[in-house]
């Protein structure tokens, strides 16, 4: 890989981890070259740039690779200081990091579990997802975005709620995003999806429905054969 080659992003079209980074680059107006990876048949380039985990996204800036979506977001915010994603105050930054972590590590995991399970596990995962959403509802507290008036760090990380969670709901015929229970989140979803830069950068719904249905089936078969 040559030095001083600008910004490249290795990604996979449906990955919410990749999408966070795309949105961040777009919000900051950073030009980049996008390289689509097949995560089920990883390229030598991906394995070279992320030898430890072999996962997307990987941002490559002037030849230097940075993996892990949240690490990448922090990096982008530090290198391109305009249109900041994180607040300036250390306490507010800690609060943003806390909620981004919560959305990524808890809500995202529970939602995935709800998609890829049956019976009691499935019911438990729905309950956990809703409890997590309740906490995020409280944190949002009527703000337009988690970042305040503008999209920020937490919005980007939690963004999967807006476009991916409804797809899961449709595939499994479940209800997590109850607008009567989560009015602030519902409002946030509308604001987020209608943001001009976000709107342009969403995976096509019909493709997502097919992809996640397939993933669900594969995982259910794997889990039942592992038992």
């Amino acid at each position: 890989m040559e030095e001083n080659q600008g910004v490249k992003l290795l990604g996979f079209w449906v990955s919410p981890y990749v999408l966070r980074v795309k949105w961040a680059l777009k919000l900051k107006g950073i030009e980049y070259e996008y390289i689509e990876e097949d995560v089920f048949n990883k390229s030598p380039l991906l394995l070279k740039l992320n030898p430890v985990k072999g996962q997307v996204p990987v941002l490559v800036h002037d030849g230097k690779p940075i993996p892990e979506s949240i690490v990448i977001l922090e990096y982008i915010d530090e290198v391109w200081k305009h249109s900041p994603l994180l607040p300036q105050d250390p306490y507010e930054r800690a609060n943003s990091r806390f909620w981004a972590k919560f959305a990524a590590e808890k809500l995202q995991a529970y939602a995935w579990e709800a998609l890829c399970s049956r019976g009691e596990d499935h019911e438990r995962a729905i309950k956990a997802s809703m409890e997590a959403l309740e906490k995020m509802e409280k944190e949002l507290n009527g703000k337009k975005f988690f970042g305040g008036d503008k999209i920020g760090f937490v919005d980007l990380v939690a963004g999967f709620i807006s476009y991916q969670l409804p797809v899961y709901e449709e595939i499994v015929s479940m209800k997590i995003l109850d607008s009567s229970k989560f009015p602030a989140i519902t409002n946030w979803i509308n604001n987020f999806l209608n943001h001009p830069l976000i709107k342009e950068e969403l995976p096509p719904k019909h493709k997502m429905l097919a992809y996640f249905s397939n993933r669900r089936n594969v995982i259910l078969v794997q889990n039942s054969s592992n038992k």
Binding site: E68, V71, V79, P90, A94, F98, K135
Partner: protein
């Protein structure tokens, strides 16, 4: 006048991380030991989302989650930085800190709580993770270079508690033969002044783990006391 308090539990490596960082920066703080079977109203008030330690309280404002606290400490008290200044090196440090926290710690933890049937498989996974760390350390004294940084701090469990526990339980996961560089790192790490001041007493640590464990699932009271995920929850 800065007021810094830390709500913690004596054996939690997540609390040790925060204490080591505070000691590195020479920050005066009040330490409050929590009884995890009977959590204080303050802890529940300051960390309503997780109800867990550690919680740092700075001038009345609470911060939870050890990795978030470490970043906060580094941004608020700028002496003796625990993260590199260069954004790319900082990103690398964050990546490795996450790797230790999310991949190494759970793998090592699982070996401690294994039944004899599970042990070999869990050990294989832990060895794989330690190998990656050994490679990353390379010829460096610490992950942070000449002095300890965030990755070293987050890896405190590997440096101290895990070796103590594995010796008491006669496990053979982290050995000097298999991981000479990491072993040397551990020796250097535990002898660092800020780290030495924070380590739980070895005999107290050993007393919490029964010597006869093989073939038995350790009782859940240990899990709740240590406030760490049960096997399968890692």
């Amino acid at each position: 006048m800065e007021e810094v308090k830390l709500f913690g539990y004596w054996v939690s490596p997540f609390c040790r991380s925060v204490e080591i960082a505070l000691k590195i920066k020479g920050i005066q703080y009040e330490y409050i030991e929590e009884d995890l079977t009977n959590k204080s109203p303050q802890l529940l008030q300051y960390n309503p989302v997780y109800k867990k330690i550690p919680v740092l309280l700075h001038n009345g404002k609470p911060i939870a989650e050890s990795m978030v606290i470490l970043e906060y400490i580094d941004e608020t008290w700028k002496n003796n930085p625990i993260l590199p200044k260069d954004p790319f090196e900082k990103a690398r440090a964050r990546f490795w800190a996450n790797f230790v926290d999310q991949k190494c710690f759970p793998a090592l933890w699982k070996t401690i709580w294994s039944t004899s049937e599970q042990y070999e498989q869990n050990k294989a996974e832990a060895l794989e993770r330690l190998k990656v760390l050994e490679n990353e350390l390379g010829g460096k004294r610490f992950f942070g270079g000449d002095s300890i940084g965030m990755v070293d701090i987050v890896a405190n469990f590997i440096g101290f508690s895990f070796r103590t526990i594995q010796e008491a339980l006669k496990l053979d996961v982290f050995t000097e033969d298999n991981f000479p560089k990491l072993w040397e790192w551990a020796e250097n790490f535990v002898n660092c002044s800020p780290v030495k001041k924070c380590l739980p007493p070895q005999d107290k640590l050993i007393a919490n783990f029964p010597p006869a464990y093989m073939g038995k699932t350790l009782v859940s009271s240990f899990q709740s006391r240590l406030q760490l995920p049960p096997p399968g929850g890692c």
